[in-house]
């Protein structure tokens, strides 16, 4: 059943394609997943990968250190392009995080069983992406050590943040998002940490996992409240995830800059966020299942479903691009019309065409069943979409800011070495955290996999 490649897609075949490989029991899923953390020796490949990622993270640390010494002048930003890479990367990273919450919360509420084996590392991805995202606005302030000014605290100067500003909304949205994602992830981890505590052989591991699991013992009375809390968190995270990218889009949409001041921004930002997030989940899931032999848990059904979500959200994004283009052209507002022409023929036009190629044209391949079931194609596609979504933010930030209302305020932007070093460095940090995560915590929720085993065995009866 797991190897057979049906020639055509149909609801019947989809029902038969399992979300978990055949023959698994409570014990076997526990053994398989916990052994990755507890007994499997750390491979040479892990060390090499970790070293590369950690070096890149080191580059980020140097880049930020130099920034603190010299100031934001080391970046390519100028007047009028005050935002540059920092905001492009911020929006890109925060968008990537959204798929994690979508998978863990929205698919949970919709009772989509296939989410079970991918939600844990998707949530971890969310956390790490939010951590990377958070760095950028922080260092973009120029004096990151003064960033606490953005939080409402009783200062001796009697100052309060300007709550009417979208940038302050952003502080609240992103910090709430980070906090809730962390709690959701941790609550999900508690039973698995107890499993690791009980299966660990070495004393220090027993103590560490024991502390983290807080003495979870699987009591039915505990599960009863735990399930309520988990369901409520999922219900709370759902509007939250939609609000976060909406608020991020307000950073642009509330401003009067041509190309930003549009009401389509919130929905199209949210769709774009889910789009790029699912691309990133695929980018991580494909090597993860290969390296750790998790093909039984992250099956073709998962990859297929994720590819479909990517296709659907990609079409929403395409719709957004089309209407952005149409409304600007149709509005008769000469600045908006001019901005569209600048996207098509201006100095940054190649970026716009590359964006259309990556985000709209390439993903159309996913209509084909064959393509969705070709792991290599999916992996390449996920990277193409990630690049495309980064280009989208670049196009939004840079083209609008370089082509303001009066020609005297026009400018050019090109990133410097330090811009690239910081950006690539955050990718290094993201990968470093992921490497550590798969080594010390179960990348797949063991408790939920057992539940899935119980449900599938019931179905068979």
């Amino acid at each position: 059943m797991s190897d057979g490649k049906p020639p055509v897609d149909s609801p019947e075949i989809r029902r038969l394609t399992p979300v978990i490989g055949p023959g698994h029991t409570f014990g076997s899923v526990t053994d398989k997943i916990s052994s990755i953390v507890l007994t499997r020796p750390t491979s040479l490949g892990w060390y090499i990968g970790f070293l590369i990622a950690f070096s890149l993270m080191g580059m980020m640390t140097i880049a930020i250190g130099w920034l603190v010494i010299k100031g934001v002048g080391i970046w390519g930003i100028n007047i009028p392009i005050g935002w540059g890479f920092a905001i492009v990367n911020f929006v890109w990273w925060i968008g990537i995080g959204h798929a994690g919450t979508l998978i863990s919360a929205i698919l949970f509420l919709l009772k989509q069983k296939w989410r079970t084996s991918i939600n844990r590392f998707a949530e971890a991805m969310t956390l790490f992406a939010v951590a990377c995202a958070g760095i950028f606005p922080l260092i973009h302030t120029g004096r990151p050590w003064m960033a606490f000014y953005m939080f409402p605290y009783p200062s001796t100067m009697g100052l309060w943040p300007q709550f009417r500003s979208p940038l302050i909304w952003d502080v609240f949205a992103v910090s709430t998002y980070g906090t809730v994602s962390l709690m959701f992830w941790f609550v999900g981890l508690i039973p698995d940490l107890a499993t690791l505590r009980d299966r660990a052989v070495k004393k220090p591991l027993k103590i560490i996992y024991g502390m983290l699991s807080m003495g979870w013992r699987g009591s039915a009375r505990h599960w009863h409240r735990y399930q309520s809390a988990y369901l409520l968190l999922a219900g709370l995270a759902t509007p939250l995830v939609l609000s976060v990218h909406t608020v991020v889009s307000f950073d642009f949409a509330i401003a009067i800059v041509p190309g930003w001041h549009t009401t389509i921004f919130p929905p199209y930002f949210v769709a774009g966020a889910i789009y790029s997030g699912f691309a990133m989940v695929l980018t991580i899931a494909i090597p993860l299942r290969k390296v750790y032999g998790l093909e039984d848990f992250i099956t073709m059904r998962h990859l297929d479903n994720m590819a479909k979500v990517m296709l659907a959200t990609g079409l929403i994004v395409a719709y957004g691009y089309f209407f952005e283009f149409f409304m600007s052209s149709y509005s008769g507002n000469k600045f908006d019309v001019f901005l569209v022409q600048q996207r098509l023929h201006g100095p940054y036009a190649p970026f716009y065409y590359a964006l259309i190629l990556c985000n709209i044209l390439t993903p159309q391949l996913l209509w084909s069943y064959k393509m969705r079931h070709n792991v290599t194609v999916l992996f390449i596609m996920s990277i193409v979409v990630n690049i495309g979504m980064w280009l989208e933010r670049f196009v939004i930030v840079v083209i609008s800011l370089t082509r303001d209302f009066v020609p005297s305020a026009w400018g050019r932007y090109s990133p410097t070495f330090w811009d690239w070093a910081t950006f690539i460095g955050t990718i290094g940090m993201f990968v470093t955290l992921l490497f550590l995560f798969v080594r010390v915590l179960p990348a797949i929720s063991i408790a939920e996999m057992r539940e899935l085993v119980a449900e599938t065995s019931e179905e068979k009866k």
């Binding site: 526990t30 502390m211 807080m214 039915a220 009863h224």
Partner: protein, 181 residues
């Protein structure tokens, strides 16, 4: 038998499948025991009902947290923007409430989520690093592939031999006393 009550926490039996566990829980409850608990490596469907657990307080606490976060958040912004630090920007109203909605919303979610998580932990009396059931050697399987029912010595009906017999009747394996420490 009475002298056992102060020395042991209870008596525990092991089960191999969720169905056996549900059956055992129903039987123990039918026999009139109230202070007993079931342990499972995942939330078993129907277990809460079998144990007779009713609604819990987590949703109410969450609602309270959400309301506190939202209402508190809104009036805090009102106080900061209109009373203690008023900034006249082009004569616009100080209580510009639509602009306060995003932060109000985020704080409501934050309050509700914190309340849900910490409320759940507090009601479950966690963290609690040690517990008598951990004294049972085979209890490490409670977090992987085995199910347990423990009748506590605090139950009014508790009698070691009687409880062990009852657990045997419902086909428990490895019936053991749970030492207090």
């Amino acid at each position: 038998m009475m002298q056992h009550r102060s020395h042991i926490y209870g008596v525990i039996g092991e089960f191999g499948t969720p169905e056996e566990l549900l059956h055992a829980v129903e039987k123990v409850r039918e026999a009139g025991y109230r202070r007993f608990d079931a342990f499972a490596p995942f939330p078993v469907e129907g277990l809460s009902e079998a144990l007779g657990l009713k609604r819990n307080l987590v949703p109410a606490i969450t609602l309270f947290g959400g309301l506190a976060g939202g209402i508190g958040g809104f009036f805090f912004q009102y106080w900061a923007m209109a009373i203690t630090y008023p900034l006249n920007i082009g004569g616009r109203p100080l209580n510009s409430w639509p602009a306060f909605i995003p932060v109000t919303f985020e704080l409501a979610i934050l309050g509700a989520s914190l309340a849900a998580v910490f409320g759940m932990l507090a009601l479950n009396k966690l963290p609690q690093p040690n517990h008598p059931v951990f004294n049972v050697h085979r209890f490490t399987h409670a977090s992987s592939d085995r199910f347990f029912v423990c009748i506590e010595s605090k139950d009014r009906k508790f009698d070691l031999a009687e409880c062990a017999r009852l657990l045997q009747e419902v086909h428990a394996h490895h019936i053991t006393e749970v030492a207090l420490d």
